[in-house]
């Protein structure tokens, strides 16, 4: 505290700047992306995913199914992806606003020429870009190695699965951001995110659907059960694209396949995943705009 405080720009006569309309959104997006890249979570996720994917490909090659190339590896990756991507996305999303609130930085951010919507959207888009990058890095590294050891077939399915994983990440990030907005602290938000992950990924398939059917046993209940869970919707979409076998699809997927056919089911499920990527974010924004910082 020995240098005096003065006013910048007085000596040089710099004019007051005008704030560009998109400066806030772009700046928050860039910072969120940069923070995620610096974060070890994301690097660890990409590396783990690539390693497991390569490992699966190598194991299958040893087992004599190498000729099935990407298709077999993709099928093997579905369960891994449905476990890991939601967990990563929910945790990152849950920290978005609650973390700023915990650190006390939320007030300083919102005191800038920035709307609450720009802050929320900038964070969501930055995190989405970061998770997409991690998913693509993981799948990309694995895909490259698989292509080196086995014939390149069914690459389209592999790419489709990358897109599905990215879409699932967007939907779960959206839910994570909603959790973040309604939580008054980071630890509460993270706890809620883990509970949500447990319910959507583990509990839902094992118990939830059975409970729903016992209450109201109908095709509509099955359809609603699918659409109400983005993880389930992506799982059925992935299987539908690979091999629409009724046994592999499970009760929900089998019902949709029989009732609507593969194409219509794919459209309905895609719409459901997109809705999950948008609607929680819209709700989060509506709540966040009404909160005091």
């Amino acid at each position: 505290m020995n240098a005096p405080i003065s006013t910048p720009g007085v000596a040089t006569g710099l004019a007051a700047p005008a704030v560009p309309r998109t400066a806030g959104l772009a700046t928050i997006f860039a910072k969120e992306l940069r923070d995620a890249v610096r974060s070890r979570w994301l690097v660890a996720f990409a590396a783990t995913f690539a390693l497991v994917a390569v490992g699966l490909a190598l194991v299958q090659q040893e087992g004599g199914v190498a000729s099935q190339g990407f298709n077999r590896t993709t099928a093997s990756l579905i369960n891994l992806c449905l476990l890991l991507v939601p967990l990563l996305a929910l945790i990152l999303g849950a920290g978005a606003i609650a973390g700023e609130r915990d650190r006390g930085t939320l007030g300083v951010l919102l005191a800038q020429p920035l709307t609450a919507t720009e802050l929320l959207l900038g964070k969501y888009l930055g995190l989405t870009a970061a998770v997409w990058a991690a998913v693509m890095l993981g799948f990309g590294a694995a895909g490259l190695l698989i292509a080196l050891v086995s014939p390149v077939t069914d690459f389209g399915h592999y790419l489709l699965f990358v897109v599905l994983s990215a879409s699932l990440a967007s939907a779960m990030l959206s839910i994570g951001v909603l959790i973040s907005v309604v939580s008054d602290g980071r630890s509460k938000a993270l706890a809620l995110a883990v509970v949500t992950w447990f319910v959507l990924v583990l509990f839902y398939n094992l118990v939830g659907i059975g409970m729903a059917l016992s209450v109201a046993s109908s095709g509509e209940t099955l359809l609603l059960s699918t659409l109400l869970n983005p993880v389930e919707a992506v799982r059925i979409l992935a299987i539908l694209s690979l091999e629409p076998d009724l046994h592999v699809l499970g009760p929900l997927g089998a019902y949709m396949h029989v009732r609507f056919g593969a194409a219509t089911s794919a459209v309905v499920l895609t719409a459901a995943v997109l809705a999950w990527a948008v609607l929680p974010l819209v709700a989060a924004n509506a709540i966040f705009r009404r909160q005091d910082a």
């Binding site: 505290m1 700047p17 709307t115």
Partner: protein, 296 residues
């Protein structure tokens, strides 16, 4: 530059800010004074648009509630305990906020230099002292050359030298035609910096006027306690005459309140009256509660 009309904030049935109304012209400084919980921070946060409120606040003609982003573009805000991302360096923090405010890299660098943090530009925010963070907060507040500065308890945690520098900073902004709203519970900051004073007590405005008038009405006072070696009955009228106030008696102790600048007169009166003082205590009337300062 700043107009607040009937600004009210309620939580359920509790009113924490009740109809605050004032106007502040360019080049003027308003001190918002009150005890903790009086509603100072609520008013400050309402002006910046960090809180929803009833009433109307215009910053340079821009409605804070309707167009908060544009209004905040005209405001430089220093929070009571400014918090920044601890994993960014001082330079990165300045660049980040410069981009948010549409300021250039050059302006960010200048702002850091201007608050004396040029030598700490690569230091992580997490490694800065409280005073340095306050300086970084001032650097961020100055980016974009705002017309209105909102400073929430800026002197909190600063040493005497830093507080004097802060006063210089406020005077410099006033000289440049900028407006400043300053919340404080240090009454001595008022005559040194403010043109106008708004006193809040439990959310209600109890005084709004020129600082000279406020200072006259709230001159610092001291509470004096004496234990004398006999002659108490003789001492009471002497003390009362010197202090201009009634003297209270509690056991061996006598107590009286007088203007701080005149407390020596009470001692002189006792000494001249030949009364021996065995013990004494002086309490400065607290500056945290302007209502208490006005009288015992």
């Amino acid at each position: 530059m700043l107009s607040a009309q009937g600004v009210t904030k309620r939580y359920g049935n509790t009113t924490v800010l009740d109809g605050a109304t004032f106007d502040l012209q360019g080049g003027q400084v308003l001190a918002v004074v009150g005890a903790n919980g009086a509603g100072k921070s609520t008013l400050i946060k309402s002006i910046v648009g960090l809180m929803r409120f009833q009433g109307r606040i215009l910053v340079d003609g821009v409605d804070v509630a309707r167009d908060g982003k544009r209004a905040r573009g005209r405001i430089g805000y220093l929070a009571q305990n400014p918090a920044f991302h601890v994993d960014l360096s001082v330079r990165e923090t300045a660049m980040f906020y410069a981009r948010l405010r549409g300021a250039s890299e050059e302006r960010a660098r200048e702002a850091v230099e201007a608050v004396g943090l040029g030598g700490h530009a690569e230091k992580m925010v997490g490694a800065l002292s409280g005073g340095m963070r306050q300086r970084l907060g001032l650097a961020v507040a100055q980016m974009g050359d705002p017309a209105l500065f909102i400073l929430d308890e800026p002197a909190t945690g600063l040493d005497v030298a830093a507080r004097l520098e802060l006063r210089d900073f406020i005077r410099a902004q006033r000289a440049r035609g900028k407006s400043v709203v300053l919340s404080t519970h240090w009454l001595e900051d008022v005559p040194a910096t403010a043109d106008h004073v708004l006193v809040l007590d439990q959310g209600r405005t109890t005084f709004l006027g020129p600082s000279s008038e406020f200072v006259r009405a709230n001159a610092a006072r001291s509470r004096l306690f004496f234990r004398l070696n006999g002659h108490t009955a003789q001492a009471i009228p002497l003390i009362a005459a010197a202090a201009g106030e009634e003297v209270a008696r509690n056991g061996d102790w006598l107590a009286v309140t007088c203007p701080t600048g005149e407390k020596v007169k009470v001692f002189e009166a006792l000494v001249e009256g030949g009364i021996t003082i065995l013990d004494f205590r002086v309490e400065e009337a607290t500056t945290a509660d302007p209502q208490a300062v006005g009288g015992p």
